[in-house]
């Protein structure tokens, strides 16, 4: 089990800046690192995560692409197998449909097909999440869709410190890493940023190990497990429940692949109660996987049936009334706990 350590530095970054800073640092050090994607050049990325890179490294290494995801993600696979370390951006994860073959049949599998003799050291950055009425093709999380498919690591930071460390680790990793960043954490004012995502972040380079969860808050009565934006809902719920005298532990998964089942199990072994919070669809997803990881290991540790607060199995509606109703939030987590205790 590891805990996010904030450093003495008082400088804070948004996740967007943290991603750009990690990328710039690796690009300075390693000429094989380059960036491709739509609007990642002079615009700096629609979500700000390549801001400043074009100014510093120019159009040769920070490439605006045509709207041709199959082409440039496929090209990244080829370049990665040929000595480069591409970072590519799929602007919204919802767009994976036009280019998934390059991702899951090639990026994810080539190393295995080659018996480990071919490396595909690339990072696929992609934005996730809704809550701002962008409709059903621009608001999904799809964490499980990617985590389900073997051969790619998947990380989902909840704050800038982790984002920088995970980004550095992802670029240096010899395997493909999908870096899923939630729009509401990004620090783009126009998306209404979660304040808790903008945290102290050291200027020097460091890594956060891929595959290690963090205990974002220690507690003894209940374990909340989540990722990305969900971590902040959990922290708010923990505060509310704390006022009722319930001592809540919050586990921030940070990585979906590899999944740190040990940290989750250790927490549930201590608290005996588990609620999983996920903005991705309810069925066949992260929430089911976490619960299975606990109960298949030990059926005696739970004092109550585990619960999940996840997105219902419906496309995401546009109307804010419907969308907000369907999204996970702190109140739903608190309710889920109350129901757990009343059963």
């Amino acid at each position: 089990m590891t805990t996010t350590s904030t450093t003495s530095s008082s400088r804070k970054l948004t996740i967007a800046r943290a991603m750009a800073e990690a990328t710039a640092h690796e690009m300075r050090k390693d000429p094989s690192v380059f960036v491709m994607g739509e609007d990642v050049g002079p615009l700096g990325g629609v979500f700000g995560n390549t801001r400043g890179l074009h100014d510093e490294f120019g159009s040769e290494r920070v490439r605006d692409t045509p709207i041709s995801e199959t082409a440039f993600i496929g090209a990244a696979v080829g370049a990665a197998s040929d000595g480069m370390r591409p970072i590519v951006e799929l602007m919204f994860v919802d767009f994976f449909g036009v280019c998934m073959d390059a991702i899951y049949n090639m990026m994810a599998k080539n190393t295995y097909f080659a018996g480990g003799n071919v490396k595909v050291p690339m990072v696929l950055m992609t934005s996730t999440g809704g809550g701002y009425s962008d409709g059903g093709q621009h608001s999904q999380c799809l964490y499980a869709t990617f985590a389900h498919l073997p051969g790619m690591k998947v990380v989902v930071p909840s704050n800038a410190y982790d984002a920088k460390g995970l980004m550095t680790a992802a670029i240096r990793d010899d395997n493909p890493v999908v870096f899923m960043y939630h729009k509401s954490l990004q620090g783009m004012g126009w998306l209404g940023t979660e304040k808790g995502a903008t945290v102290a972040t050291p200027e020097e380079s460091y890594t956060v190990e891929i595959g290690k969860a963090a205990v974002a808050r220690q507690g003894r009565d209940l374990t909340l497990v989540s990722l990305g934006a969900g971590v902040h809902h959990c922290l708010r719920a923990a505060k509310t429940l704390g006022e009722e005298g319930v001592d809540v532990e919050v586990v921030d998964l940070r990585s979906l692949v590899p999944l740190d089942r040990e940290t989750v199990r250790a927490s549930v072994a201590k608290t005996g109660r588990l609620i999983v919070v996920d903005e991705d669809y309810h069925s066949y997803g992260v929430s089911g996987e976490i619960i299975a990881s606990v109960v298949e290991h030990d059926t005696t540790c739970l004092k109550a049936a585990p619960r999940r607060v996840a997105y219902p199995d419906i496309p995401i509606p546009f109307a804010p009334t419907m969308e907000q109703w369907a999204l996970p939030n702190a109140d739903k987590i608190v309710d889920a706990f109350h129901q757990m205790m009343s059963n």
């Binding site: 008082s10 400088r11 804070k12 948004t14 800046r17 620090g187 783009m188 004012g189 940023t193 903008t198």
Partner: protein, 78 residues
């Protein structure tokens, strides 16, 4: 000596108001001249505010507060 951090008059074009979207330094910490301290958003564009001097930061306009050009948003005490 205390130096005010104000929103520079030439940070963006026009007289629109903006909003502080993020403080990038903690209250009470020591900053150097030229350090990036805050982000201000006007429409959908983000602008950066740098420390005009070195000193200890006291924030007077918090995140989400509305600011105009010339608004004092913090002070630096050396």
């Amino acid at each position: 000596m205390s130096t005010a951090i104000t929103v520079p008059e030439d940070l963006w074009e026009g007289d629109n108001e903006g909003v502080i979207t993020a403080w990038l330094v903690e209250e009470g910490s020591q900053v150097n001249q030229g350090d990036l301290v805050a982000e201000v958003m006007v429409e959908k564009a983000q602008y950066e505010i740098e420390a005009p001097a070195a000193g200890t930061l006291t924030i007077t306009k918090q995140e989400d507060e509305v600011v105009a050009k010339g608004t004092t948003i913090a002070s630096l005490d050396a």
